[in-house]
């Protein structure tokens, strides 16, 4: 635990007697003490003038906290976000004032949208300079106001211990989110009486602030009645189940209720995908049978999800005949997009603990039979049914090969784009929180920094970063971080020489007018070698399996370039403004092969 003992380098030169030293720490020391006390032992950051006193103090804390020098502050925030998702511990990132702090913005917005507990610590100009447009001064609390759960500007060292404790508490409690603490340079240098703060009491903040006075027993009773009367119910499972650590309660509820489950993108991993009641992912690129089931349901039980437009399609036609039970820890989500017949503001864990014993054990044979009929149709259209020619590789085949070779025993961090959706479709996630991906913000460049964060969180796990050639080129500098930290990460680049997902939209919705999507790429294998990393390439399925095997055998980081067919589309797809049951589908396979490799579209009935 925490010691308040003076650190050598501060004993000299600061002119305090021994007794004073025992009670006083510098602001910089308070920062590190708090981070350690909060159980985080990795910080992702980048130094600079305004945060220098804190980096100076780091020298004395190196045995207790590891600092990872990233190559761009955005990646510090993204790595901290993934560290949280991999461990449940608050991710911490650090940057200097001005440009350092503004570089965090995308990563903080990402953490905000995906509800990740991140504490960002930024240096600020000295308190007497605040407001004067001093060198590298930026109003960082102003800039990050809408993309943080809360933020602070600390101009008085006496506030620092309390603020640091509050920041961690706010970040991780209730609906998790990012908190930024902007700390003036002189505050980092000044001394303060420090006692570790064991519990935080805040006047306004309560982790859960229910709207109005909820009559929970009555709401549960009403939910039970809706469940009793449903014939075609479906559970919509979101990330709230992970954050509430409610995996067990969730599985018990699913198995007793017998109700099939569709997950959101971030909900992948709340229930093993080989569980017979897990239908898998819903939404824009969810499989058609999943969306058909939702469109035809008479009851939606939404748990810890927020009816994002990527999962609902057109709201006017969304699940028209369904009653809705919505459980969320954030009151502002209830009735935001979809009106709830029963809306409960509480943690999913608490609700399921109460609700599961209230309901009867049931199953829905007729409903499942209908869903299975739709599922068979989907399976008949599977791209994997196509026997590929020797000179061709498709991204879905790569995803399936990674899954088969790893037997699903790994953590996957994806970037954003087509490959991200293929990963969800062709990798079967059987482990808890196995997929780490940028959902709400859709941040390109996420995969590699996320893999770095995840590897620190799960050092013994096999960690894969899967990125497109576009997103990967946004994070190339972090290869240096991987090497410096000697991280055993497998990096898969799905190279289609296009900004694939954008090209798909241009093809389908802009009449093939390709504008600014064709991408020149460097020789990725040589690039890997330039960083001192093992580089491999595959251009057909045989090679793909071979390089995956070799990469896994190699102890240390490996970068693999998979050269894939350039213009494959992700299907099914709900085009913007369309309804769940108006998906653009793959044609029945393998008929597609006859028509060349153009995986065109066909309207779902």
């Amino acid at each position: 635990m925490l010691t308040c003992e003076p650190l050598k380098s501060y004993e000299e030169g600061c002119g305090l007697n021994e007794e004073e030293m025992n009670m006083k720490l510098t602001g910089a020391q308070v920062i590190w003490e708090t981070i350690i006390q909060q159980g985080t032992n990795v910080v992702f950051g980048y130094p600079g003038g305004a945060i220098l006193p804190t980096y100076d103090a780091l020298v004395d804390y190196q045995d207790r906290v590891h600092h990872v020098l990233v190559r761009h502050e955005e990646n510090a925030a993204l790595a901290a976000d993934a560290y949280f998702r991999a461990t449940g511990k608050v991710g911490v990132c650090m940057a200097t004032s001005g440009p350092g702090a503004t570089n965090l913005v995308t990563g903080l917005a990402n953490a905000m949208m995906d509800s990740s507990a991140v504490v960002a610590i930024t240096g600020q100009v000295a308190s007497y300079l605040v407001g004067s447009d001093a060198f590298q001064e930026t109003d960082v609390t102003g800039v990050t106001l809408p993309i943080t759960k809360h933020n602070y500007l600390v101009m008085d060292v006496n506030e620092l211990p309390q603020v640091m404790a509050e920041a961690f508490y706010i970040a991780r409690s209730g609906r998790p989110g990012p908190v930024l603490v902007d700390i003036c340079k002189d505050v980092q240098q000044k001394m303060v009486d420090y006692e570790p703060i064991a519990s935080v009491q805040m006047r306004g903040y309560r982790a859960i602030k229910p709207h109005g006075r909820q009559d929970i027993p009555a709401l549960l009773q009403r939910a039970k009645e809706l469940i009793d009367h449903a014939r075609r119910p479906i559970i919509l499972a979101g990330q709230g189940i992970k954050h509430g650590n409610a995996h067990e309660e969730f599985r018990a509820f699913v198995e007793k209720s017998g109700i099939p489950v569709a997950t959101t993108l971030l909900g992948i991993g709340v229930l093993s995908e080989d569980h017979p009641l897990n239908l898998r992912m819903m939404g824009m690129h969810g499989e058609a049978y999943v969306n058909q089931a939702i469109a035809n349901a008479d009851l939606l039980i939404a748990l810890g999800m927020r009816f994002d437009d990527r999962v609902t399609g057109n709201l006017k036609t969304y699940a028209k005949n369904a009653r809705v039970i919505h459980v969320d820890i954030d009151a502002a989500e209830i009735n935001k997009n979809v009106p709830a017949d029963v809306g409960i503001v509480a943690s999913v864990k608490d609700v399921l603990r109460e609700l599961t014993p209230m309901i009867e054990k049931r199953s829905y044979p007729a409903w499942m039979e209908q869903i299975n009929e739709w599922r068979a149709d989907t399976q008949a259209r599977d791209v994997l049914n196509v026997a590929l020619p020797d000179d061709m590789l498709l991204a879905p085949h790569v995803m399936r090969a990674i899954w088969e070779e790893t037997k699903g025993e790994c953590t996957i961090c994806t970037d954003v784009g087509q490959h991200q959706m293929w990963e969800t479709q062709y990798f079967q996630h059987t482990r808890k929180n196995q997929l780490i991906t940028s959902g709400g913000l859709g941040t390109m460049g996420f995969a590699l920094p996320a893999a770095i964060g995840a590897k620190f969180g799960r050092p013994d796990d096999e960690v894969w970063a899967i990125a497109g050639d576009g997103g990967f080129q946004m994070s190339i500098p972090e290869l240096a971080t991987v090497m410096q930290e000697k991280l055993d990460i497998k990096i898969a680049i799905i190279n289609n020489n296009f900004l694939g997902m954008v090209r798909q939209w241009q093809e389908l919705m802009h009449n093939h007018r390709y504008s600014a999507v064709e991408m020149w790429t460097p020789d990725f294998v040589k690039l890997a070698q330039a960083y001192g990393m093992c580089g491999l390439r595959a251009t057909n399925i045989k090679e793909a399996r071979e390089v995956i095997r070799r990469a896994r055998e190699h102890k240390g980081p490996v970068l693999i370039e998979f050269v894939v067919e350039k213009e494959t589309n992700v299907f099914p797809m709900i085009q913007p403004g369309k309804s769940l049951n108006e998906m653009t589908r793959r044609p029945i396979q393998p008929a597609a092969l006859g028509g060349g490799m153009e995986f065109m579209k066909e309207k779902a009935r």
Binding site: T141, G142, L145, P146, K149, H150, I170, M202, R203, G204, Y205, K209, H211, L315, D330, A331, A332, I334, N335, K336, N337, V338, P339
Partner: protein, 170 residues
Amino acid sequence: MLIDRIEARKNPTKHTLVALVENKPGVLNRVASLMRRRNFNIESLAVGTTEDPTVSRMTIVIDASRTNAALVERNLYKLVNVIDVQDVTDLPTVVRELALIKVRVSDAQHRGEIKQIADMFQSRVVDVAKESVIIEVTGEEQKVDSILNVLQDYGILEVVRTGRIAMTRG
């Protein structure tokens, strides 16, 4: 969309929310920023201190035909510095607004008439100059609207209104 559907069920076109917030720098900015970001439509927002110097009180009037007051309330709750929020629209409340109205006076007769009007509205003339007077009026919004309406004919030079403040009865 949804907001319309929910709003269609209730009728009042205005909702009054009372929020108690920590009296710290930047809190008004947080509230205003939330309103802007979520595209909420505010009619008026009045802030002042309370019996507790560490707490400020905001009375927020929402244009409920365009913004769902319940969502505003729930989002306000999410702000760390917000201590309590209450929608007082359907509660028995005392609602007041204060306005200062500067009216043109061309002669003594007008001045007399304006004084009479002010009396009828139980308001006061608080400044008299050669060519204008200032009237201070407090009351519910409609009362302020009415006196403005009547004074219109004399030539209104300037108006300032505080926006609504509200307190539940009892």
